[in-house]
């Protein structure tokens, strides 16, 4: 039997995934998109809409900020930068996830 990636489950964590990608560097959306595709072995059918929705939501909430890069050649890119509030949210979400995973494993175990 081949395992299948649950896209729904992943989609529920888009905000945290975006925050994780921004923890160590400012990135533009295509970069985040490509990294997600690469890391999931192109298994995850991530819609660009999901990613942008997440970015705009996080920006509105003050978790990330954005700025236009100053590329001298080629198209301009918009970069996203994580704020302290965003780092805080990332850490909280990670705690929540680890805790939830523990409980979920407990629940999914054969009884």
């Amino acid at each position: 039997m081949e395992p299948i990636l649950s896209s729904d489950l992943l989609r529920g964590h888009t905000d945290t995934i975006v925050l994780a990608m921004l923890m160590n560097a400012d990135r533009y959306v295509l970069e985040i998109y490509n990294r997600i595709l690469a890391r999931t072995g192109e298994q995850y059918e991530l819609k660009v809409e999901t990613l942008y929705s997440s970015c705009k939501r996080l920006e509105k909430g003050g978790y990330i900020t954005s700025y236009w890069g100053d590329e001298t050649q080629g198209a301009r890119r918009k970069y996203y930068h994580i704020t302290n509030k965003g780092r805080e949210l990332y850490r909280q979400n990670m705690l929540n996830w680890e805790f939830t995973l523990k409980i979920l494993n407990e629940l999914l175990r054969e009884d």
Partner: protein
């Protein structure tokens, strides 16, 4: 279709806010680069475009986050829903008021023809004119619309009383003046018990009026203010702009009248043209450079 056209077609239903323009720019750079990467990996241009646009998903969800609601939705809210606020009994009452008013006007005119006495038509109008007008006032004030909440019927009744007393006072003034032949002083004296208190009461009611705009109207109003704020920089600058414009137009109209008297219309219209040019210059001076 190039990416620019494609993106424009995606968001054609949305208001072109600054935020949306910015987002479209961002999305264009995303798509262009994505297509370029796909072409580089060996895909042909057409297929790459199809794949990249297919990967987007439902972008309207993002636009909803960014732009105001769709234009159509706002229009629908403003106009299409008015039917919802007009139950049958209200429609019947509106028509009844209209019919009574029409009857009152016809009866007044007729009695004016057949009698030399001014009080007869006035008396007819007093009954069949004032009652439907007050009816309209009451219905109008208690009418909920797409933009305004309805007034409570108790408060509307106070308005009706004030208006009724006021109109009655006006009739009294006219009747006293003509019928009693008492002359102007007596007619003016009738203003004291009716017109004056009802005006005072009406003013009190209007000044203590609540803001009855619906939340979405207030929101729109605030957004409009924010946009004008963005244009002018700060409120003081905006105030100065309106002061300058006001002064300009007062001067222009004064010049127009003066020139018309002195030289006729042939030349005076130039004052208005000059004012229009001045207005544009003032606007250019006060709005922020982009």
């Amino acid at each position: 279709m190039d990416t620019r056209e494609y993106i424009d077609s995606l968001f054609s239903d949305y208001q072109e806010t600054a935020a949306l323009v910015d987002f479209k720019e961002e999305l264009k750079s995303f798509l262009d680069e994505r297509i370029k990467a796909l072409v580089k990996s060996g895909m042909d241009e057409k297929k790459a475009f199809a794949k990249a646009t297919n990967e987007l998903g439902d972008m309207t969800a993002v636009a909803d986050e960014i732009s105001r609601r769709k234009k159509q939705e706002i229009l629908a809210e403003m106009y299409l829903k008015t039917g919802h606020y007009l139950p049958t009994w209200r429609i019947a009452l509106y028509i009844l008021c209209g019919a009574v008013l029409g009857f009152g006007i016809i009866a007044t005119v007729l009695s004016g023809f057949f009698s030399n006495d001014i009080t007869k038509p006035l008396g007819t109008l007093l009954v069949f004119g004032i009652v439907p007008v007050l009816g309209f006032l009451f219905l109008g004030l208690t009418q909920e619309t797409a933009m305004y909440e309805a007034m409570s019927w108790k408060r509307a009744l106070l308005y009706v009383i004030a208006a009724g007393v006021f109109l009655f006072g006006v009739f009294m003034f006219i009747i006293t003046y003509f019928k009693a032949n008492a002359g102007l002083p007596y007619a003016i004296a009738t203003l004291i018990p009716f017109v004056l208190p009802s005006l005072a009461f009406g003013a009190f009611l209007i000044l203590t009026e609540k803001d009855r705009r619906k939340p979405w109207v207030i929101k729109q109003h605030e957004e409009r203010r924010k946009r004008s704020h963005e244009r002018f920089g700060d409120p003081a600058q905006e105030k100065r702009f309106s002061l300058f414009s006001g002064a300009l137009w007062i001067a222009a109209i004064a010049a127009f009248v003066l020139l018309t008297i002195l030289f006729g219309l042939k030349f005076s219209w130039l004052a208005i043209v000059a004012a229009l040019v001045g207005q544009l210059l003032i606007q250019a001076m006060f709005t922020k450079a982009k």
